[in-house]
């Protein structure tokens, strides 16, 4: 086993990790701020991919799909929060969980009815096709682009949450919503926006995944599992945790693929079990 291959495998792991971070972010933000476990996350990821494909085919450009679909589905997410989740605040955590679980079935079935059960081709944008020579091996340009997008999204999120007034309100609202209300902040408006943001991120992940994986109504189910694993390992609600955990899971999967490829999927769950045994709150989670 030569160093070049191991380096290449490490890089593949980081790239895969970046994709995992992207899929986990939306889930993590919604749980961290609203305390809602969004089981429709995978389905919204899938709906995002279809929306991106639809916009791209209308406009003839992948870029419009990439920009418009997350906003569109983000707005749709706000409707979900306003009409479906909002009545359940103050009840047990299971209620929104069951609601979103049911919603995911509705969304998958809806897409099956509109777009059919077969997969639909989502071609890689022509500007990003081909491979890049990294010196230790070749890597698809599109995947490198996705890593770049994830980096930018994470940076913007961090700046937004840490450096703006809105971010301050969001963070404070996550800690003590009652106090925020007393201080005259309309916290429900903040929750609406945060839910929309989380859903928008899920659908951004969907659009970006389109050219890498085939687009089909069931594409979200595996993503939901992956996003959960990453969020649980990182610590529920911790943004930094999701990022580190996503990259770590990506690298672990990639290294396992090198030595025991048939274990590449299961290793992610093994890692989660291990973390839960040693640190039940996750790497960066706070004890409740």
């Amino acid at each position: 086993m030569d160093t070049e291959l191991i380096l290449m495998q490490l890089f593949s792991g980081v790239a895969l990790g970046a994709i995992l971070v992207l899929t986990a972010l939306g889930l993590s933000i919604i749980f961290g701020m609203l305390g809602v476990v969004n089981f429709a996350h995978g389905a919204l990821f899938m709906v995002g991919a279809y929306a991106g494909l639809w916009v791209a085919s209308l406009t003839g450009s992948f870029w419009w799909g990439l920009l418009v679909a997350p906003v569109m589905i983000g707005l749709f997410g706000m409707l979900i929060e306003y009409f479906l989740i909002r009545p359940l605040y103050g009840r047990s955590i299971d209620d929104p969980l069951l609601l979103t679980f049911g919603l995911s079935y509705v969304l998958v079935e809806g897409v099956r009815i509109v777009f059919g059960t077969d997969g639909i081709p989502f071609p890689t944008p022509s500007a990003l096709t081909g491979v890049l020579d990294l010196g230790v091996g070749f890597f698809p340009i599109y995947r490198i682009f996705v890593v770049g997008v994830v980096f930018v999204v994470v940076l913007l999120l961090w700046l937004g949450l840490e450096k703006t007034r809105f971010g301050l309100i969001v963070r404070a609202g996550a800690r003590d919503p009652t106090m925020m209300r007393v201080l005259g902040v309309d916290i429900s408006k903040v929750w609406l926006l945060v839910f929309g943001l989380g859903v928008g991120l899920a659908s951004l992940g969907g659009v970006l995944s389109g050219p890498m994986r085939s687009v089909n109504p069931e594409m979200g189910s595996l993503v939901l599992a992956e996003a959960f694993v990453v969020t649980v390992i990182g610590g529920l609600g911790s943004l930094l945790g999701s990022i580190i955990a996503g990259l770590a899971v990506g690298i672990v999967i990639s290294m396992t693929a090198l030595f025991a490829p048939e274990m590449a999927t299961i290793v992610m769950f093994a890692l989660m079990a291990l973390v839960l045994l040693i640190r039940p709150q996750g790497l960066f989670g706070k004890l409740a």
Binding site: Q9, S12, T117, M212, R213, E218, M219, A257
Partner: protein, 415 residues
């Protein structure tokens, strides 16, 4: 269970006797047990309508329905109408076994056709074997032919991995070719790999590496660096359904097509549609059926035309065709047997020569494998496609021959 089947048998015999005007007077002895329901021949059809093989399963149902309709239009079997009972097995062995048992116990089916996974069909086979119900399996499997899993009630209409992998290998590999394998880690993948390696040994093609991937994986990027480092002439990808689409797409993204020719044991019509011509261009794979055969075969033309008429101009796909050929063979045998008497239908199936879509076929006596032609297809470049359905070029059509099968003795049957 046996009681009910006997009643059914008597019921049919009585009708036949009446139709034949009094030849079997003794059989009219029990008219009170004849029930209206016995007039209908019920065929159970478990198939994974949901999950990663949904597209292929749906086509199987459409084709099976066509076969049933054609027989019903011609007056059924001895005047008895045929009914197809489709059930979703969710691509899960347990679910398939439960549905099959339900079909047999509750719906009182006379035979079972279907299932679309080498693992799930073995679950169905367990149930039908134990209950003594005829099962026409329409999904690839090797073990179903072997003595261990053999059942005299089971007929294997689908090709088996030795047939498809063998044909693809014979038409692609040369002596000294270097082959890298990417294989789905379950029965189908393992069997296909075995089929390829057997053919490679005969040809003298070398295996430079094999990677087993988890079934249903969405991301294959982490396998690509190692596959590249094997420097193969051929990348041989043995998986099914969406796994095929995803893995080929990602292998192409990683530039493996520039380095190696991609071959698959079974090239799937629906997956080619799902990822587009650019990705599949030049990929070679085996198939049981391709609609383009209609230019050479009258039976293919007749099947396509009937399918088009019944499905708004759509064309039948590879796995879809199994639904048609499998069900047609069973119904033809029932016609010969004059009804649903299990032993008579088995005898009729064993003796049957049929050509309903893809040239002559017949079931080999020892293992009940359907001896039939095997196609090797190559996916066309977009510019070479004459229309949207023109996906493949037929590069070889191996005529039906027992020679491509493992011999009966090799499978463990007494010589």
């Amino acid at each position: 269970m046996t009681d009910i089947r006997n009643i059914t048998k008597t019921g049919i015999s009585r009708r036949r006797a009446l139709a034949g005007l009094g030849a079997g007077a003794s059989l009219v002895a029990m008219p009170w047990i004849a029930r209206a329901a016995d007039d209908i021949i019920r065929i159970g059809f478990p198939t994974p309508l949901t999950g990663p093989f949904a597209a292929e399963a749906k086509d199987q149902v459409k084709s099976a329905e066509l076969a049933v309709k054609q027989f019903n239009d011609k007056g059924g079997i001895n005047g008895r109408k045929i009914e197809l009972l489709v059930r979703d097995d969710k691509l899960n062995g347990g679910e398939a076994a439960t549905r099959t048992l339900e079909l047999i116990e509750k719906d009182k089916v006379h035979a079972v056709v279907g299932s679309l996974s080498s693992a799930v069909q073995l679950a169905v086979n367990e149930v039908t074997r134990a209950r003594g119900i005829i099962y026409v399996s329409i999904s690839q499997s090797d073990t179903i032919n072997e003595v261990k899993d053999f059942s005299k009630y089971t007929f294997h209409e689908a090709l088996n991995p030795h047939m498809t992998a063998g044909a693809v290998a014979r038409h692609s590999f040369k002596k000294g070719s270097k082959v890298a394998h990417l294989v789905a880690d379950y029965a189908y993948g393992h069997e296909m790999l075995r089929g390829f390696k057997r053919a490679q040994a005969e040809i003298g093609a070398e295996t430079v590496g094999e990677i087993l991937h988890p079934f249903g994986a969405a991301d294959y990027s982490t396998f690509m660096p190692r596959l590249r480092s094997m420097r193969p002439d051929f990348l041989c990808i043995s998986n099914f359904g969406r796994d095929q689409a995803n893995s080929i797409k990602q292998a192409v993204d990683f530039g493996l097509k520039q380095q190696a020719k991609i071959v698959v044991p079974v090239i799937l019509h629906n997956q080619r549609l799902a990822v587009g011509p650019e990705v599949f261009e030049g990929v070679v794979g085996g198939a049981n059926y391709y609609w383009g055969l209609e230019s050479q075969l009258p039976s293919a033309k007749a099947f396509n035309d009937a399918y088009r008429a019944a499905n708004g101009g759509a064309i039948p796909t590879d796995y879809g065709a199994y639904g048609y050929t499998g069900l047609s063979s069973l119904l033809m045998a029932m016609q010969v047997a004059g009804g649903t008497d299990t032993d008579k239908v088995i005898a009729a199936l064993e003796a049957l020569k049929y050509d309903v879509a893809k040239g002559p076929q017949s079931y080999r006596k020892c293992d009940h494998q359907s001896v039939q032609s095997v196609l090797v297809l190559e996916s066309l470049k977009k510019a070479d496609m004459k229309n949207d359905a023109d996906l493949f070029k037929v590069v070889a059509n191996e005529a039906a021959s027992e020679k491509v099968l493992r011999s009966c003795t090799e499978l463990g049957f007494p010589a």
